[in-house]
């Protein structure tokens, strides 16, 4: 079909100019088929399906709690990287580093606040996301396993928050982590060795701080991003299904889907 873009307006005119054509590289998408193709070939949109059911994009369906969780994760990564520039994970330095951060570093106190409140809000958002998905019955076939991945993400979120809790090395941090890790010690047979492995010694000390720091800034963020990618990928794959007509028996295979 030959449809020429004659729309008025600055953006449309920019798109038709030689510079605009070099940026966007493809003509404006005017027909639905064209738009779907445009979505499909956009790198930044590849985590989204092309179409979704009207019912499922409304606020009342999901309360957008997954979006909230993801945004908070983004806020935590950005603010956390800023904090890393001013922090050394050693008992002699950690606490004074936080004091310096709050009193001398530009936006130090503010970025620390953003990191702290984002962390608490993310635990809440993830928990509410789980509850919302439950009441919506959104884990019904064929989405069961994405619920399981979500449980893993909840646990990773808790671990992220808990390991970060120790880093300011104040009384609040020290004793909260002491209480928290005591629970691991109650596991029969392996409890004490698990606890010692976590703490790097019999009590919370210098090696605990270093271990929690490495877990907090490297190991757990990588894991959470990896698992989140799988979570979103599965969400996208299933997002166009009509769950009302689904059961275990008529779940489409990937081949059925690609033929559709």
């Amino acid at each position: 079909m030959d449809v020429t873009d004659t729309r008025p307006g600055m953006i449309a005119r920019l798109r038709r100019s030689p510079v605009g054509r070099s940026i966007f590289r493809s003509p404006a998408r005017l027909t639905p088929r064209d738009r779907a193709a445009g979505h499909w070939s956009n790198f930044f949109l590849h985590i989204y399906p092309v179409k979704m059911r009207r019912r499922e994009i409304a606020f009342r369906y999901s309360w957008y709690l997954g979006v909230f969780s993801t945004v908070l994760l983004g806020s935590l990564v950005v603010s956390g990287i800023y904090l890393m520039f001013f922090y050394v994970p050693s008992p002699n330095q950690a606490y004074t580093d936080i004091q310096t951060l709050q009193t001398e570093i530009t936006f130090g106190q503010y970025i620390r606040n953003v990191h702290r409140w984002s962390a608490h809000l993310m635990v809440l958002a993830v928990a509410f996301h789980m509850a919302r998905v439950f009441y919506r019955g959104a884990y019904k076939p064929p989405r069961q396993f994405n619920w399981v991945i979500g449980v893993v993400l909840l646990l990773l979120t808790l671990l992220m928050s808990f390991t970060g809790y120790l880093l300011p090395w104040d009384q609040l941090a020290f004793w909260a982590v002491t209480v928290g890790t005591e629970m691991a010690g109650y596991v029969p047979f392996i409890g004490d060795s698990v606890r010692e492995m976590l703490l790097g010694g019999p009590v919370v000390g210098a090696s605990t701080l270093l271990r929690f720091y490495v877990l907090h800034v490297a190991v757990l963020p990588s894991l959470i991003v990896l698992v989140l990618m799988v979570h979103l990928w599965r969400w996208r794959k299933d997002a166009m299904l009509d769950q009302n007509t689904m059961s275990d028996q008529n779940v489409m295979s990937d081949q059925d889907r690609s033929e559709r």
Partner: protein
């Protein structure tokens, strides 16, 4: 022209928005019936319908964090001191329910069996409540069990977070505040 009942001059050449000439317009309803009402099950394009909503949601949450951070500072107590145990000794708020349970049950029950049971239960949930029916009224048992768990957990968290003071004794948060964020 916006009122469908008003007759439109059909013999005057009109111009459509893209500049092409329109030969004629016929007033009234189409033969095939009215315009299709949007259906809840219709597939709509994610761009713009969902992406605009997601962008608004994302920016609202970001705004909330940025504004809260202006008015509330993250806490920083005195430097860690392994010889000075605070009373009460509190875990982070999301473990407050577990800590509250620990004060009632044997550590093996409250610290190991219950958390393990919760995780196993959550993982197994979609395979236990495995019918294809999504609506709440067709899966009353699962909904009742989950709600019971959720309410109990929230109540325990609030008790452990706000209603426990020195020696893990009961306090009223409005007279004696011991919650820590």
């Amino acid at each position: 022209m916006t009122d469908p009942e008003t007759p439109v001059a059909v013999n005057r050449p009109a111009t459509s928005p893209d500049g092409r000439r329109v030969l004629g317009m016929v007033p009234g309803k189409p033969v095939a019936g009215d315009r299709k009402e949007p259906d809840e099950q219709d597939l709509v394009m994610v761009w713009p319908h969902l992406l605009v909503r997601h962008a608004v949601a994302a920016m609202s949450m970001l705004l909330l964090v940025l504004v809260v951070s202006v008015f509330f500072d993250a806490p920083l107590r005195s430097v860690a001191n392994p010889t000075l145990t605070p009373n009460p000794e509190k875990a982070p708020w999301y473990f407050a329910a577990l800590q509250e349970l620990l004060s009632h049950f044997h550590p093996l029950v409250a610290g190991v069996l219950i958390p393990t049971g919760i995780i196993v239960g959550l993982v197994a949930l979609p395979y236990i409540d495995n019918g294809s029916e999504q609506r709440v009224r067709y899966r009353k048992v699962a909904v009742a069990m989950f709600t019971l768990f959720l309410v109990a957990w929230i109540v325990l968290t609030i008790i452990g977070f706000a209603f426990r003071g020195p020696n893990w004794d009961w306090v009223w948060p409005w007279t004696d505040w011991h919650g820590e964020l």
